[in-house]
Point group: C2
Chain length 442, copies 2
């Protein structure tokens, strides 16, 4: 046995930070604020040896750091012999990917919060890590500070995940929570979120589902051992939702949430990102504001849920530093480079299940001419496509001028059938606007 026992001498573990934005500054701050507790748990010290930034001369930073640590030289920071762990907080898959691959090749362990990198290039990154005998940890890449990666990789190691539902984009959840509470329009709430710093100036990645899709791909890897094409995941933006959708969802007993859903089918992985009606009694429906959660259904444990801050300086930094601690513990125990074999399942490339083949319940909204027989036409077309109706509500002003609104909750149906029915209904002379579809989680 090689583990050091008793009271090993205090050792310093050297860290190179790549990036000193929000999360990087949080890492520096947390290492200082919790130094005593971290030292006690680690029996050693995590020391930042270098911080690679774009402009080392910049005066105004989120956290005070020794200017001597700052450098533009990413390669130099990685190569320092006193650096054991490289912490990549640059983001994206350009410079960040080069840096991660260089660190691995140099035999340095890697901690990253980069969901895009792992969603697109995870197989390549982990294969390189295994070849070079180093560890890659990425707890902060999904749900920020919520330790969902450890939970799935270790806590549920003996279980078999059947499906999961997640709220993994805080910006979207903030917006939908505010829309539901105030009966407000999307654009209005988005503008407010941007003012408050909850949404980026270009909110596309958040509200369009791209950010959530990257996290979903990583979760599918952990849950189903599957590598899927992250960029091909079906995403519906939340920007199409109207206040009336929230009002009627509530009448039917649902809350609209920005969800990701993953399921393993023999013919492929069902993975999708879209707003969905969640039963108001579910815990997931109570996840409000910018908070994240993942609800997992697994064979032995049954339903379980993991909830917390999915973004933000200190929560994300917490996940990064917990990864640094884990690697440091392994380093102190002279155990490293086993993460690939100890921690990861072999991933198999799997196809995505085509959206036409998924099964769901649906909330449908039709804007139609307020005339006799129209409701009959709608329901006949739905029935002809094997879409059976659980509840229907018609709101007809009755003055013959304004459109009637028809709201339908369906039983479980095949998405391809629903789409075909909506196509036919959309082409009816009585239909005044494109039919709206929101999926219901079941």
């Amino acid at each position: 046995m090689t583990a050091d026992r008793g009271s090993p001498p205090v050792r310093e573990i050297g860290v190179a930070l790549l990036g000193l934005g929000n999360v990087g500054a949080g890492v520096v701050k947390l290492l200082e604020d919790n130094a005593a507790a971290i030292g006690a748990r680690l029996g050693g010290r995590l020391v930042v040896r270098a911080i690679a930034v774009r402009a080392p001369g910049k005066k105004k930073r989120l956290v005070e750091v020794d200017p001597a640590l700052l450098t533009k030289d990413i390669a130099g920071a990685i190569a320092r012999p006193d650096v054991d762990i490289v912490c990549e907080l640059i983001g994206g898959d350009g410079e960040a990917k080069d840096a991660v691959m260089a660190a691995i090749a140099a035999g340095k362990h890697v901690v990253t919060a980069n969901k895009l990198l792992l969603a697109r290039h995870g197989t390549e990154v982990f294969a390189a890590a295994e070849r070079h005998g180093v560890d890659v940890y990425y707890e902060a890449a999904v749900c920020g500070g919520v330790p969902i990666i450890r939970v799935l990789r270790e806590g549920l190691a003996s279980d078999r995940v059947e499906q999961f539902h997640g709220i993994v984009n805080g910006t979207s959840n903030y917006i939908l929570t505010a829309m539901a509470a105030g009966g407000r329009a999307f654009a209005d709430v988005l503008a407010e979120a941007q003012r408050l710093g909850y949404a980026e100036a270009d909110p596309t990645l958040d509200v369009g589902g791209g950010d959530a899709a990257h996290k979903l791909a990583i979760l599918c890897g952990l849950c189903f051992g599957a590598t899927i094409d992250a960029d091909a995941i079906h995403c519906d933006a939340i920007s199409e939702l109207d206040a009336v959708d929230f009002a009627y969802a509530a009448k039917f007993g649902y809350v609209i949430k920005p969800v990701v859903i993953g399921r393993d089918h023999p013919r492929g992985i069902e993975a999708r990102v879209h707003p969905a009606l969640v039963p108001a009694g579910w815990l997931l429906a109570g996840v409000t504001g910018a908070k994240n959660a993942v609800a997992v259904d697994s064979y032995a444990l049954g339903p379980s849920m993991y909830y917390g801050a999915g973004a933000g300086m200190m929560p994300t930094a917490m996940a990064v530093v917990s990864d640094l601690i884990e690697i440091s513990r392994n380093l102190r125990a002279q155990l490293t480079g086993v993460a690939p074999t100890r921690r990861h399942r072999a991933l198999a490339r799997r196809p995505l299940l085509p959206m036409a083949e998924i099964r769901s319940r649906y909330f449908l909204r039709f804007s139609v001419a307020d005339k006799p027989g129209v409701l009959g036409q709608l329901t006949t077309i739905l029935g002809a496509h094997d879409v059976s109706i659980e509840q229907v509500v018609q709101e007809a002003p009755g003055d013959g001028n304004r459109p009637a609104q028809v709201f339908v909750i369906t039983h479980e149906a095949r998405e391809g059938d629903v789409a075909a029915a909506l196509g036919k209904i959309g082409a009816l002379p009585a239909t005044l606007a494109a039919p709206r579809l929101i999926r219901i989680v079941v």
Copy 2:
């Protein structure tokens, strides 16, 4: 570096099961049902070599096992040279403690679901494990399958837990959920729970809070690095609750839940077990039926919550087998005996904060004579003891015969002051029954 790389030969890890009750049977079943997935994650095989039971000849078991594995000889099962890990599922701190200490002394790693053993003798058990260079894992001891131990030990390793609220006894939560939903009496629901197998024939440990106190002591160790006297933790039984408490809690916007609370104070650890009013909007209030959850507030992450099945054959077995996998991974990586130094904080013996010194908000119920001036007497006494009132509702039948009920929600107050005030109010001639106190989580 000592880790085996590439494709190490498949190795068998030998396990001795002590006990083949509900959880033991679940372990056997899960190892069979998920054999392929477990093998893939482990790159090896977990093999049960011996099962120690009270009556090896017994015919009817929850799961079919090879009769050759069954033995009465606990010491013999532990001593087998082909056993690497001893899985203690006997419970209690008699025979089970002897077995765990014997396994550790024999250099065997231990997985246990025994909360009582760890709550009472954790310091001794972990010290022995460190001395003998073996690991002791106990994920199943708290909240069954919910991986709360891993979350606190690893996921939040860089954070500082400030307080936590937990629902850690499924039987109590089942009973209070049913009482709240149906306006039913405690005894009625308990009898039903016993018929359905949710409650033991002797429910004292569950409904009296003893079981929760053991789990609370373990959580305080993980969160605060504190060893506390588990048997001295303040417990209020849920059996004192009346249907009227649930009704008025709901009117004030609360749900009554069986909670444990842990907080670190300079002068001691605040640790208590009692039913409490939880704001209806909190996620914890939505944890219903026999489910468990722990809501943690920590410095960097802020609020987070972990939810799932806290008991039951398969959920508990899942936690046990995940621990077996973790130790097996370490064994395969030739890394064992580092759990004490890698995984545990040094625990310091800390005093419990006396209940008189805790601060809380309170829900108070008084049964008093329906006469003028009585409400004034109550509120005057409360005010004289620094207990200020947030809301008060009086239900007076007005016929001068039946008692009036007074319901009070207080602002935060010191428990010693509240107790003194209730003592005085209880002694008033107008008071017809002992005043009732239920704490409110804030």
